[in-house]
Amino acid sequence: MASVLSLHNISKRYGSIQALNDVSFEVPEGSVFGILGPNGSGKTTMLSIILDILRPNTGNFSWFGVLGGSPDCRKMVGSLLETPNFYHYLSAVDNLNITQAISGRGTAVDIDAALEIVNLTQRKKSKFSTYSLGMKQRLAIAAAFLGNPKVLVLDEPTNGLDPVGIAEIRRLIKELAARGVTIIMASHLLDEVEKVCTHVAILKKGDLLTAGAVDEVLVNEDIVELSASDIDLLENVLKDYPLKTNLKKEENMLQLFFPVGTANLENINQFCFEKGVTLNMLLHKKKSLETKFLELTSATNN
């Protein structure tokens, strides 16, 4: 798959703070690419660099194969960066007219349609300064979606939205992804990324910890959880089970760890039964993004 965006060894410093440190990765066409990281990890700095708002100290990037991007590349990218940026004395429609005039994306009809999608039709003639935080965010989303851009860059898109709004945006993102739009989304909400993303990059204090397809990043071992009425006996029995990398005892269950793709539930079940233990629970657990995220971000603390 061709890359929509590639970053090569991007570093950025603010005085003594290293905001980004030698970050490189590729965003494949058609992917939903989540950029994860705690507050202050460099997510917004990175997005600002690829949108030509900030200059990197070293390194470079390409949009659609064009080194450093270009204004024409940015016109194909619908972006919401950090906060909704609009002319406070203009209405939603007037603000989108400016977005439309600069980017060349969309028509007057598209502007109405975009406002309808984000539920701002009733307030479309009101000044931006009279909007609530959630409404401002929704207008920013409408501006990013205006005129079907090839790529969306969304920085914390659900900021300030209520639960219904969050669900709507999530649905919208999935819809657009299904239509082949590439979506690059920064978030500190793991749940959000986990639900919609196909790829993920994890940043911490400016360092890229990992990047790749969600399945590859999240699963680096298989975990099998199992339990029996006599948990001590089960533990004894499983000590002899081959191939496992680790065995952990939780409160009333055991966790068996295997290298990726080697856990075989049938074999485990049969093994226990032959040793005289009947299982009352057996399940293959995918590691949640949260676990993985905490593991990755705390591992480098030392």
């Binding site: 600002s48 949108l51 030509d52 708002i53 900030l54 200059r55 270009s70 204004p71 024409d72 940015r74 016109k75 972006s79 960066l81 950090e82 906060t83 940026n85 609009f86 002319y87 406070h88 004395y89 203009l90 007037d94 007219n97 400016i98 977005t99 005039a101 600069i102 980017s103 060349g104 501006a143």
Partner: protein, 275 residues
């Protein structure tokens, strides 16, 4: 370019400060000129020799063709009004981060400055048109039948007024662009142009240093020399006045150079710095 103009007009036409500026210009330009017309009348109204000499030598400075010059000079006092508008327009772009959004949406960094040059040009043109209308009205009102036929003699003051306004507004833009805060930029603009530079100018004049002609605002101030009737009405002051008219040509050149340098700096910084 036309596309940039269209976009800037979308931003300006619904900005209340813009219409306030127009309103204030529409009131102050006739107002200040009317006031100085009074000053002139009180000069020639003097019963002594000087009054008679003035009347004889000068003629009415608000009749054609002098009206173009006098009205330009007095109206230019209020350059602070369009300067305020430019500072507000630019600092708003930074306060509300729309300067970033314009780039994100697909402008190049140079296009942002191009658009601001268009703003400064539009505002300078509007102010120049206001001046032209006021000068024409004064000219026709105060000209006798002989003077009125000379209406086209000093039309060069229209482009000179435009150039001076453009030069002042370019400084206003630079300050707002560098400082990004409306009140600080406006404060420095007013404090420097009205007070600091005059103090420096006064000191240089006292020391008889010619360099006072080349201070940032003085360079373009000299495009519109002080009208004669405000001077001392003696021979020396008359000679100085004549010299100042001849020097205008040089100051056109200096102003063009300085203003180009200001915009070049804006392009350069905008390319380099983080937005």
């Amino acid at each position: 370019m036309l596309q940039l103009l269209k976009i800037e007009w979308l931003k300006i036409k619904k900005y209340p400060t813009f219409w306030w500026m127009l309103g204030i210009v529409a009131l102050t330009y006739p107002g200040i000129n009317y006031m100085f017309h009074h000053v002139y009348e009180s000069v020639i109204g003097r019963k002594d020799m000087a009054g008679n000499v003035a009347k004889f030598l000068l003629g009415n400075p608000f009749a054609f063709p002098d009206a173009w010059h006098s009205v330009a000079y007095f109206s230019s006092f209020f350059v602070i009004v369009p300067a305020l508008l430019i500072i507000m327009l630019v600092s708003n772009e930074y306060t509300y981060k729309t300067s970033r959004q314009n780039i994100i949406d697909g402008w190049s960094r140079n296009q942002f400055i191009n658009a601001k040059i268009i703003d400064v040009t539009i505002i300078s043109l509007i102010v120049t048109i206001s001046y032209t209308i006021v000068a024409a009205i004064f000219g026709f009102y105060y000209s006798d039948t002989v003077r009125v036929t000379r209406w086209a003699e000093e039309l060069q003051y229209i482009p000179l007024f435009f150039l001076q306004t453009f030069a002042y507004l370019s400084w206003a833009f630079l300050l707002a662009f560098l400082l990004r805060r409306a009140f600080i930029a406006l404060g420095i603009f007013i404090f420097y142009s009205l007070i600091i530079e005059n103090i420096i100018k006064g000191y240089f004049k006292f020391r008889e240093w010619g360099i006072r002609e080349y201070l940032p605002f003085e360079i373009s101030n000299r495009l519109l020399p002080m009208p004669n009737f405000l001077g001392k009405l003696n021979e020396a002051s008359n000679d100085a006045y004549k010299k100042s008219l001849i020097d205008v040509n040089w100051h056109v050149l200096y102003t063009l150079i300085l203003t180009s340098a200001i915009w070049w700096l804006c392009y350069y910084l905008n390319k380099k710095r983080d937005l």
